[in-house]
Amino acid sequence: MTKFGEHWEASFREMVVEAGAKAIADAGIEGRELQAVYGGSMASGRLISQEHIGALIADQMGLAPIPSTRCEAACASGGVAFREGYLSIASGAYDVVAVGGVEKMTDVSAEDVAIALGGAGDQEWELFNGATFPAIYALMARRHMKEYGTTEEQMAACAVKNHANAMHNPYAQYHKAITIEDVMKSGYISEPLKLLDCSPITDGAAAVILCATEKAKKLYPEKAVEVLASSQASDTLALASRQSMTAMNATAVAAQQAFAQAKLAPKDIQLAEVHDCFTIAEIMAIEDLGFFKKGAGGKAAADGETALNAKISVNTSGGLKACGHPVGATGVKQVVEACWQLRGEAKGRQVDDAEHALTQNVGGSGATCVMHIFKRADRK
């Protein structure tokens, strides 16, 4: 992957090539083995006035004429691209494919970014009426506070922890430790969410190579990471139409399916990269994934139970908050972090005895959730 951040010097296509070339080199292949490409990008049309991203990736990577397809599911575009790549191999259609995610967000004004990201929600009935994305998550946060007594300080603890993790991730956008007080003093964006509860605007790209399991185990016994489960679920675009605003049903459904496929339980997972576009989203995620009881996520975060090598290590990359959130790239970055952790290559932020990792990537305010569970292929 590329370093995440404000890359004024790099274009969309340059970031694609950097991440893609690194993934090909890491896999120890030449590139000609690849049979297809799946690329996640949410809003390239609005952000760089460029569509037809599938072909652009194949073109720039020198991979034409192999098929190359763009996947879009708002902020879950990267995770969905990974899943499509996984399914293409599971179906038997291909043996080796490349999956990428990319977003170039700093070529337009912050206002234009807000309009582009607003497309992840229900434009006709929610954004139209004056809602913003932070406002939609703020409405969930307020309700979570009401139902479970969650506090602004508990939400802040997620941001503090993710910034601490990002200090040890050379690919992260921010290398700056923050305190609860810093978060509490940052200005309100949409109450109760403050600036430091929100993930930033980021440029970046991430890529991985997927290969049929038996072949991968034979070719790369040291490095291969196995996909144990892949699941995806949908919900209403409009927040108001959901039965619950304090739980994401798409996450709960996808989690149930993923744990069943992997024949694992939440207690078997050592690390999880979850979708913390806002701090309240991390609290809801660790509850909906079953790591903590519904309503106990805020206290768990404040008590340090999700810190590196605590009860479960959550967002060792720094999460969306501190590693950055180039929307289409995030889902693939989560997979890259899971791989590095399972291989024992996450220097400075390594989870001890990491055997199973989970990634949870959300689109919009929970209308898509895509999830994967990974395991070191050399472990029995």
């Binding site: 807000a114 409405l139 307020r142 309700r143």
Partner: protein, 132 residues
């Protein structure tokens, strides 16, 4: 962002008068109206229905960083309002003391300007809610 006139015009019933729909097969009300009842799908029978114009605040937020078209109103309240029939919608809360905008607070619909594109652009009207 400029809005084409038909985009605003074709939603006037829903936005001006809070016309939703009901599935006559299962009795579930929906706002905004749906073409298909998710519960009954092919067996469903969708018909237009006036939604109640009173309800309660289910959740709320004071928006400080406003999107384009709403800059001059910030900070302003948005809320999820639960109507008397249990249907929820997202709306602005206006003309209300901040102290009255709380979860559970009774509110009623008012008709307001939502935004205008620019001096020659379309003016969008619709529902907002106020504390009672």
């Amino acid at each position: 962002m400029r809005h084409a006139l038909p985009l605003i015009w074709r939603k006037s019933l829903e936005r001006y008068r809070l016309i939703g729909c009901s599935c006559e097969n299962c009795g579930t009300d929906y706002f905004p109206p749906r073409k298909v009842c998710p519960k009954c799908r092919r067996k469903g029978k969708i018909a237009p229905k006036q939604m109640p114009t009173e309800g309660k605040v289910y959740s709320y937020s004071l928006v400080h960083a406003a999107p384009s078209g709403f800059e001059f109103e910030a900070p302003y309240h948005v809320a999820i309002v639960e109507l008397a029939n249990g249907v929820r919608l997202l709306t602005q809360i206006v003309d209300s003391d901040a102290a009255k905008v709380k979860i559970g607070a009774p509110v009623k619909m008012v008709f307001r300007k939502i935004f205008e594109d620019d001096c020659e652009g379309v003016i969008a009207y619709g529902y907002k809610f106020k504390a009672v």
